[in-house]
């Protein structure tokens, strides 16, 4: 019996899972080393630019913002929202366009599925890779914000695990949706949804300014939950609302993983 077989036996592989999602990260790193760094840097710089443009530009006009019981400086108000945004951007970039490429152009997943890897290994591995990028973006953003003296307290560091949960949710959901898309036009749909969601989800102003119906729609969208979650940890205002946000993302992750691995099987193990 060959080596590979012993390994497969010892892992109790099933039709869906070989217990080896980490090799996807290894592959991601090999490919990333020699990659074009421009999109990576832009993804990181974008929220920083937002912070500078809105915080210092608009901030001078707006002055202070009142949310709930607190009145805070505008730049300080938008920082956690932009952190959530940053986590989302990082996760979405890898889980949509990169996944689309590997599904439809390079057929990488098809090749992987001709080895002992199963669909769940691929889904977990790719989503984790996207999550890591989201995490790196948020750490980068937090560093910039701290350098600018905008972190309210040491506890703002807890916003990082919150941001990873947000990244995980978007990565998982993004990959699930991408697995249904076959053309570049369909992929354009993702940006079509993301841009308004980014603008309206309350990273730049409290959503209480909206009419009731619009507020309800926004509160159903994931980014609002992400922003609120990160903001709660950022300001150390952890209350029961936080559990709602966390549950929202846990459900999102579960659905994304389930759908993605099923789709991979349907696409490549027909």
């Amino acid at each position: 019996m060959s080596n590979a077989v012993d390994i497969a036996m010892s892992r109790k592989s099933t039709a869906m899972y070989a217990g080896r999602p980490q090799v996807l990260l290894e592959r991601g790193w090999l490919a990333f080393r020699s990659t074009n760094w421009v999109p990576v840097v832009t993804g990181f710089v974008e929220p920083v630019l937002f912070l500078l443009a809105f915080g210092y530009g608009m901030g001078n006009l707006v002055g202070d913002v009142t949310t709930g019981s607190k009145t805070i400086d505008y730049t300080l108000f938008i920082a956690p929202g932009l952190l959530a945004n940053s986590a989302m951007n990082g996760a979405i970039y890898d889980s949509t366009w990169n996944v689309f490429w590997k599904l439809n152009e390079s057929k990488l997943y098809k090749t992987m599925l001709s080895t002992p890897l199963g669909p769940l290994d691929i889904a977990l591995g790719e989503i984790t890779w996207a999550l890591i990028r989201g995490l790196v973006y948020s750490i980068g953003f937090l560093t910039v914000v701290t350098a600018l003296g905008l972190t309210p307290s040491f506890w703002a560091i807890l916003a990082i695990p919150a941001a990873s949960l947000v990244a995980f949710g978007f990565a998982s959901f993004g990959m699930a949706i991408t697995s249904y898309f076959k053309t570049y036009q369909q992929m354009g749909f993702i940006n079509f949804v993301l841009l308004p969601m980014t603008l309206f989800s309350g990273s730049l102003y409290p959503i209480s300014v909206y009419p009731d119906w619009l507020e309800k729609i926004i509160m159903a969208l994931p980014l609002w939950h992400g922003i609120e979650l990160v903001r709660a940890f950022w300001f150390g205002e952890v209350n029961s609302g936080v559990f709602v946000h966390i549950s929202y993302f846990v459900v999102m992750i579960a659905i994304g993983l389930f759908v993605t691995s099923r789709r991979l099987r349907a696409l490549f193990l027909r």
């Binding site: 080596n3 590979a4 080896r20 390079s106 193990l269």
Partner: protein
């Protein structure tokens, strides 16, 4: 066959209404080298994908080492080295990275793989290209790398779908040699090919397929014996006259095939037949007596010649 390594019964694969593989039965024993022959679209690659546990059959049963590949995909695939008809290398990685990461997909240790890489680079004659991105390789080099990659896990079953297509003669012979040695070590080979010399060289047993069904099965020698005569006389009368003389020639041998450029006459004694033809006053512009080959079996069973 007692205890076959691979066994298929009533294996059927449909794409919509179209039946690509139609109730096929076969067994492959451990250490055997088994070939699938057939014209384009016969269903060879479809069968290979079902065996590789990457395609689900429509009906029938398949067992590889006693396991259904649909239920135990990862476990069955751990036994296999797969060389698909279309190269599917990782275009973002270099030659060595491709070998390395593929081994990692099998869960092999870094140390094991790095020793293996040197051996495989030598086999694929790609030592000088080790750090080149695979996009920059020639077609034949990509093919060699795909084959080498399939060996990284030291599989006990090798599935090779037209492995030598696109290889130069030297590379083909290196591969044949390697496959012989693997066979000696007890590796089971399942391969498809359009090269009859390759099938005769490599296969202990083969099936000839057409339109999703198996037309014949046996060793190369037994198929030749069963479906062809001992010798073949190839005669040419010039493309216009071939048709004219055909009816008369047909009465002189057991079986005959009229191809666009030549006529093949199946007989036990080619020289004698040629004399008879000359005696009857027909003068072939060129003539050739040869032994029957798999090519003739293929032509008889599928009505098609092979484009070599």
């Amino acid at each position: 066959m007692s205890n076959p390594l691979i066994s298929a019964r009533g294996l059927t694969k449909k794409f919509g209404d179209f039946t690509a593989v139609d109730a096929v039965d076969f067994d492959v024993a451990k250490g055997e080298s088994f070939g699938l022959l057939g014209p384009n679209g016969a269903g060879k690659s479809t069968i290979m994908r079902v065996l590789a546990a990457t395609s689900q059959r429509t009906s029938g049963t398949v067992e590889i080492l006693g396991k259904d590949p649909e239920l135990f995909g990862p476990l069955v695939r751990a036994h296999l080295g797969v060389v698909p008809q279309q190269d599917n290398l990782d275009g973002e990685l270099t030659v060595t990275e491709n070998l390395y990461i593929y081994g990692r997909y099998f869960g092999l240790s870094k140390k094991f793989i790095s020793n293996k890489i040197e051996e495989l680079l030598e086999f694929a004659q790609l030592e000088e290209k080790r750090d080149v991105k695979v996009e920059a390789l020639s077609g034949g080099m990509k093919r060699r790398l795909t084959i080498a990659r399939g060996l990284v896990s030291e599989p006990d079953i090798l599935l090779l779908d037209e492995p030598t297509t696109g290889l130069d003669p030297q590379a083909r012979h290196i591969l044949w040699d390697r496959l012989f040695r693997l066979k000696e070590q007890g590796v089971t080979l399942v391969l498809t090919t359009h090269f009859m010399d390759e099938a005769e060289q490599l296969c202990d047993r083969l099936v000839v397929m057409d339109k999703g069904s198996i037309m014949a099965e046996g060793s190369p020698a037994s198929l030749i014996k069963q479906y062809s005569s001992k010798e073949v006389l190839e005669v040419r009368f010039g493309s216009d006259r071939n048709k004219e003389v055909a009816p008369q020639l047909a009465t002189m041998c057991e079986r005959m095939e009229t191809l666009p450029d030549r006529i093949l006459m199946y007989t036990e004694d080619g020289e004698k037949l040629l004399e008879k033809i000359t005696h009857a006053g027909m003068h072939a512009t060129t003539s050739l007596v040869r032994r029957s080959s798999l090519e003739d079996v293929f032509l008889r069973l599928t009505g098609r010649t092979l484009i070599e």
